[in-house]
Assembly symmetry: D3
């Protein structure tokens, strides 16, 4: 049996391939083929645009795939979310689809968009949003370059953004968030009921998460005298008990732990002050709790 | 008054900018803006995807634009075709949208596609085509990578091709041509009735065509004795009368003409044999008959 | 005898080498040497930064060189200006060194800069400017990144600009122009009195100018019936009499002329209307009146 | 005393330099020199084509070098093989030199090649192969592009391949394997008898192998309760005893081991199921058993 | 409160940003801004040329910055040296500013330069050097390409060099060293008296040094029988006591230590001979003693 | 009937394709195929290394090909030389294969090489050279990097050079020239006797030569008063009679001629002095006398 897996073509592709590599799967994308090879005889990979991934998962053409929550919603696909995978390009925050108007527009909130023209790639989600608010507006599909559309006769746009800086650079003001989106590992309902496939998927997800976590964590090792042990351990984040082993040299202990890469710069000076010696930080490939 | 002109963003963009440059218009596309600058105070340029260009021309957001005939048809836009501009990437032939199936498929012609699944970017045109043939099939919008879709549960695809080589490389067999498409200069109906705009458009089109023609033509100049004049002139294509001027040296004439670059290699040996001397070929920037 | 010529290293280098190539001199800059080879046995080239070129010309270390008027002024070098060469990067206009302050600064004109801090690469020229205006201020040499200096404690800057866009992007407001600068061919005074060197320089300058002019001009050729001759010639710019030759075919004339590339797009439609036929535009390498 | 070491120029060069770097030797190849510098005063490196490396090792011009077994055979060089180093480009399998004919050729096996024309870069090895089989054929040296030679009058070719895909793409069918080849560290016989050189070579080989092994291995660390210890250890590959240390927290043990990177994805889920906690995988630079 | 930090623009920029990343600070330099973002709310970064960094630190425009000792001296800036950071491009040795003359020059030592012309970017330091030696010479500021200046009328130059190879390639002979320079973390005097700023700086320096040290060190782990323990430990550099922990398997110990990457290639063979087994080397991110 | 044409793969390939393009043949080399397409139904192209081209021409596998005279000699191929085509990379001079020894070698001339070791790619030609001189030496085939071979135990090398600079940079001294080589269009003897093939080849050669010539020539046009006509014409090189046509404006003549690009810079100043006005230089695509 094989598990059919969809890998998102385009902007997420390289990051996804890298992530699978760290997780232990070598995915080889060759220039002219949509069927990357994988060094796992139980896996069969195919490249799809994130925009249509969930449709192919829903219809069972593939068993599972990686795509954004936004496009699952847009397609209205009924699929299982096996995991959220936070490995976006610039930050760890979810991306947002926002409603935006020109800075100088009199529009203050969504209500002011009655009978106005809105351009977006995310037509269905935008329609639901407006319907829920009881607003009637003219929503047009945009093939890209959406940020420029308000200079071309459109009153507002709905566009994806991480930090908002590209919108600001285009002279746009955000007035609401339509939906937030993260990268998801979605699964076909029938495949999820197949126990072999479910187990295989759970293994893959465990390894992907282990690889993602490892990018945010580092190993930290240090030597501590018995009398300083409590003080030093108290500084370490409680996330996971550190491994404390007594050394052959009497009265000395070795502490080995995993901490968040972001707090290292705060903790190291404090550890040193508390008596830790020979502190080393080392990189990790995977972290699985 | 300004003429608003749409330039196709994406695969045709660089070629279009180059063509305008040869025609005498410096179009400067800056990395983050959709509004290129043009060194003509009467022109205002904007970048749109070819796919949506005709919609913006039709609604009057821009006066005119360059796009493919395929997308004018797909959008069902009622616009004026001011000119056909043949400056495609690989060849001078129009591109074709073809119906294709896997080589091993039992499907022989469109009729065999009854109730089958077809993936395409050109949904409307495909629907009209099948309707006209009286065939009912399930047509799905494809976000790209359409060539691979028959390996993913689709029975057929409708895809654009110039030489068919990419389709063959994907193991596909062409069974019919849905539509042919060339690059067109399309104009909004109201703008076309405005005499200033119409004249401005006609000037631009004349210069664009002059630049395109110049890429296919070269200048040819040679010296000929009076007695050989008829023989030599007979060899030159009849496209346009060559400029024959008598030289100060008695009995000698200078012939200066424009011929198709493609026939030069056939003609030069014959000209030489017919008595032409000092033949030179020189490049052209524009050719306007 | 050899003429020692300085070629500006850095931003103008590639353009200068290209210009010399068009003028008929192959200048070969090899990666690790400051002494490019030239295919003219009477020439010896050396690379200097534009900033110090005029000092080396003045002291006679080289006979002549290409640099900006700004740096001739800054160095206070007494050299002969043999020619102005307009081949700047973005436009044909001279660059300007401007006095600029933050948009929000209360400073309105140079006078308001009394006792303020000004950063610039062009220290001497800035000092003369302020002295002439009777303003005392604190001028500091800036090693670059001058645009950012007002955010770092400086009250104003003097910086070079072509269009002002980079200054605007850095939130700066121009309050005055300190000096304008074009690219110049400057010559050592003693070398200029040497008749062999002077003649050699004049030849080089003639060819450089011919190459520059050719980039702004194109050749235009067309056939005209005798009755339309005056009408057509009247349209052509008066810059230089067109070459009109009678063709062997009776009543027809060939007009061959050189016109400014910028006006071609205006003139061609008018020529055609006036009866010109078979209009062709061809490129030029050199134009020497 | 110095050890003279040959590094293969060309396709293996970058990989070899990288491998030496991981092994602890910084080899600096400068663009124009064939003598890279090495940060080991006892080493002197030189670049040779893999094709002629063994000839220079045999004649004693260098003491040792890295090359393919194929070219050692082709040159018939009598040298010592100190080690096999598996660090090939695409895979870990040895490359093969194969005898291939066009797909449509009637040739089924080597025997059918009697009096036929064969093109190859590996002339001697091919001759030996045919001689052993008692087949007489006409073998011609090919300067490259060997895959295309059967379309040019040759009946068969002998060419190197890793996966056979390039041969298939050229319409060729493999009918036999002439020889297999791996990368080898070969040594001059006299140098091998010199004890200082031999020891030096053995050290280098140990470090190179340690670096190669580290690319295929990862470190794995986890915490386990005493009662789960046997279960967890049983899952770990028997390659090397894991380091088990008791933690200060009673009843807990830390397991630290090295495993094959390829099996990690299978083992981690099983370890977790068996009670391992806080599993981390970390990268290695060298592994020396 | 914020600490204002200057990051050197230009040749050191990428290395510095990488170093901060390893130290735990993500510095994001965007193409058009001189104000990189940092993911530490207490830090504010700005890009300055190394040449003027110390002037801005001295005047308090920034609190601290990274620059070369040479430019601190040249500017005569009174600043605090918080740390030396050895992360130069090619080697770990300090760079040198040397006095150099053409190979064929009669000048043997600085004394022979009386009344001669010297070109340099480091005018003040060169002047002090000559003054101390009681030599009067004519020192000119050079805008770059200093190595070529002796071919242009200069008698000597003072130029920076790491290995001297570029000077030799330009036919120059070094006759003295004017000053040595390393990269320094310099601090404004007032900022250093502010205890919050001082502590912040000390933390940053600790992390930067930890990151630099980690590039020169690696972790080394091995298993040893009790009887070999002393022999093995004796081989390890005395820099820091290794962590020795007894394993659950009786009589075996695990040694874990940090050693200089440069000595690994010498030590591993000796460790193995002394009875160490399963030696692995692993990479480090930070090392803080 | 088709003419089979060999195009040299490798260093000459791009230049050759460009030359054919200028001559009027579009040769399309695709990345993975050795059979470029040509837009001439009578031509069939194939890529071969220059080293083996003449062997394939001689045996009739192809009708004709482009290669160096050196490799025709080395292979001892009996082929027809249809033309010499001077379009080498750096200069227009033929390349030379030279005998070279280290600068410090006692070897003064070929005679001193008795019993010495010589490395070369051109084994046969070198053998003939030495035989003719009655010198016995040991000649070894070199797979490249020949310039470094004298540092590796070889006493001399035979290597190709254009300017000798690479040899000098490797510390080598030229002691003799073994053979000179130009690029040649060689033809199979039998193909040359086939009149259709011969005519086709002659046409191709005429166009290739026309394209090569055009790179060395430019068009020059100017207006001259009748009284200055003789003076001006006397300055123009006698290579070909200039086209002199009388203008409609009385007393004025237009001179149009083709001259060597290299002499333009000398001639233009003299023409101007002699009364020529409105001198323009224009580029050429082909020149066929």
């Amino acid at each position: 049996m094989k598990l059919k897996l969809g890998i998102p073509k385009g902007s997420l592709q390289d990051l996804t391939v890298k992530l699978f590599k760290k997780a232990g799967f070598n995915v080889n994308v060759s220039a002219r083929s949509y069927f990357p090879s994988v060094d796992d005889a139980e896996l069969e990979a195919v490249l799809f645009r994130a925009q249509e991934m969930s449709r192919y998962v829903e219809s069972g053409i593939i068993d599972c795939g990686i795509t954004g929550r936004d496009w699952v919603l847009e397609n209205g696909s009924r699929v299982i979310k096996a995991a959220e995978l936070v490995y976006a390009k610039q930050s760890l925050r979810p991306v947002r689809w926002v409603l935006a108007v020109p800075e100088s527009s009199p529009v203050k909130s969504a209500k002011d968009l009655k009978n106005k023209k809105i351009a977006t790639e995310l037509v269905s989600v935008t329609k639901s949003y407006l319907k829920k608010k009881g607003i009637k507006a003219d929503i047009e599909f945009s093939w890209g370059a959406t940020e420029a559309k308000t200079k071309m006769g459109m009153d507002a746009i709905v566009e994806v953004t991480e930090t908002g800086s590209s919108l600001r650079a285009n002279g746009l003001r955000i007035i609401d968030t339509i939906c937030e989106s993260t990268t998801q590992f979605v699964v076909n309902k029938k495949a999820w009921r197949n126990s072999w496939k479910k187990k295989k998927i759970e293994k893959i997800v465990m390894l992907l998460k282990g690889a993602i976590l490892a990018e945010q964590k580092v190993g930290l090792k240090m030597n501590v005298l018995e009398k300083n042990l409590d003080k030093v351990i108290a500084i370490l984040p409680a996330m996971k008990k550190p491994t404390v082993s007594s050394l052959s040299e009497k009265g000395w202990f070795d502490i080995d732990t995993i901490i968040d890469e972001q707090v290292v710069k705060e903790i190291i000076p404090r550890l040193k002050k508390a008596g830790a010696q020979g502190i080393i930080e080392y990189p990790l490939n995977k972290v699985i709790y």
